[in-house]
C-alpha cells in the first residue's frame, strides 16, 4: 500500500522533474559557475593566475596597464582564484549557461585592462591598486592614507619624514 502514499504525495506536491529547459532551473547562490572579474579592485598581484588549476587566466604587462584574460573553456570552476584574491576582484558567479556552438569556442573569453597608477608626486608608474586595497591596508580611509597610497615608496618616505603628509 506504500504506493498510495507516493501517489498522494505526487498529487499534492506536483512532479519531481525540474521544468528546465521549458522553465527556469533553481540555482543556489553559492553555485560555482562563470568567473567574473572587476578591474577596479584588482591590485595586479597575479595570485589568481598562479593558483589557477585550469590555466585559464593570463596576465600580460602592456603600456596602458595589466591585461587580464580568461578563457572560460578551460576553467574548472574550482574557486581557487576567488579564494586567494586579496581584494575579491575575481569571483565566481552562479551563471552556468555556458554551452555554445563550436564556432563560438574561442569567443568564450573575457578581457579587461587594469590600469597602472602614477605617483602623484613624481609621476612614476605604480602597480594598480583600487579602493578595496586601501580598505585592507589601512583598515579604513582618511585623507592622509589616501594621499600616501597614491605615491611611490620613495616619495611616500619623503612625505612621511618631512611631515607634509600629516
Amino acid at each position: 500500500m506504500a504506493f498510495l502514499k507516493i501517489l498522494f504525495d505526487n498529487l499534492r506536491e506536483g512532479p519531481a522533474t525540474e521544468a528546465f529547459p521549458f522553465g527556469e532551473a533553481a540555482t543556489p547562490d553559492a553555485y560555482r559557475g562563470k568567473v567574473t572579474f572587476d578591474e577596479t579592485n584588482c591590485v595586479g598581484c597575479n595570485m589568481c593566475e598562479h593558483v589557477c588549476a585550469g590555466g585559464a587566466i593570463r596576465f600580460s604587462e602592456k603600456e596602458d596597464g595589466l591585461h587580464f584574460l580568461i578563457w572560460h573553456n578551460t576553467c574548472i570552476s574550482c574557486g581557487l582564484c576567488a579564494h586567494y584574491c586579496p581584494t575579491k576582484a575575481i569571483k565566481l558567479s552562479n551563471d552556468w549557461h555556458l554551452s555554445h556552438l563550436q564556432e563560438e569556442k574561442y569567443e568564450q573569453v573575457d578581457h579587461a585592462v587594469v590600469p597602472y597608477r602614477h605617483c602623484t608626486s613624481c609621476g612614476e608608474r605604480l602597480q594598480p591598486g583600487g579602493p578595496m586595497l586601501h580598505q585592507l591596508a589601512f583598515k579604513g580611509t582618511n585623507p592622509r592614507s589616501q594621499r600616501l597610497m597614491n605615491m611611490c615608496p620613495d616619495c611616500r618616505r619623503k612625505a612621511s619624514y618631512s611631515g607634509e603628509a600629516l
Partner: protein, 142 residues
C-alpha cells in the same frame, strides 16, 4: 521511409563515448538520464547502447593517447548525419590535463564538434541545455 525519417527528426538517440574522462562528466550524463529530477527523455531522445543506432554523440574526456584510436573507430561506426557534443572542458580544451604528454586532445583536432558544454563537470541542466542545442542542429541535418 519518409515516415521514419520524419519521426527520427523528432527523436534522436544519444550515444556516449568516454575518451579518457575522469568519470565526473559521465556521472552527470547518467544523472540526466536516470534521475527523474532531470529526465532528458522529455526532449524526445534516449540513450542507446550501440554506435550504429546513434544520432547525437556525447563525448567526455580529453582523448588520451591510449584511447584515441579506439574512440575514432567507434566514432566512425556512427552513421552520418550525426551531431557531436563535447561535454566538459576536457574534450573542449584538455582542461586540467592540457599539454600533458598523455593527451591527444582537444577532441576537435580529430572530430568535427558541433556543440560545446563547458564545466568540470557541467551540471545536469547545462548538459540538457547542450543537448537541446544539439537537437536543434539534428532537426536541420536529419
Amino acid at each position: 521511409m519518409d515516415f521514419f525519417s520524419k519521426a527520427a527528426r523528432k527523436s534522436p538517440w544519444l550515444y556516449r563515448i568516454n575518451a579518457g574522462s575522469c568519470n565526473g562528466c559521465d556521472v552527470e550524463l547518467a544523472t540526466t538520464a536516470c534521475i527523474p529530477r532531470y529526465d532528458v527523455e522529455r526532449l524526445g531522445c534516449q540513450y542507446c547502447g550501440s554506435p550504429k543506432h546513434a544520432d547525437i554523440v556525447l563525448i567526455t574526456g580529453p582523448l588520451t593517447a591510449r584511447v584515441k584510436d579506439k574512440v575514432l573507430r567507434v566514432y566512425n561506426e556512427i552513421p552520418d548525419p550525426k551531431v557531436t557534443v563535447a561535454v566538459g572542458i576536457c574534450p573542449i580544451s584538455g582542461g586540467v590535463f592540457r599539454e600533458s604528454y598523455a593527451i591527444e586532445g582537444p577532441i576537435d583536432r580529430y572530430l568535427p564538434v558541433d556543440v560545446n558544454v563547458p564545466g568540470c563537470p557541467p551540471r545536469p541542466q547545462a548538459i540538457i541545455e547542450g543537448i537541446a542545442k544539439a537537437i536543434e542542429i539534428w532537426a536541420k541535418r536529419a
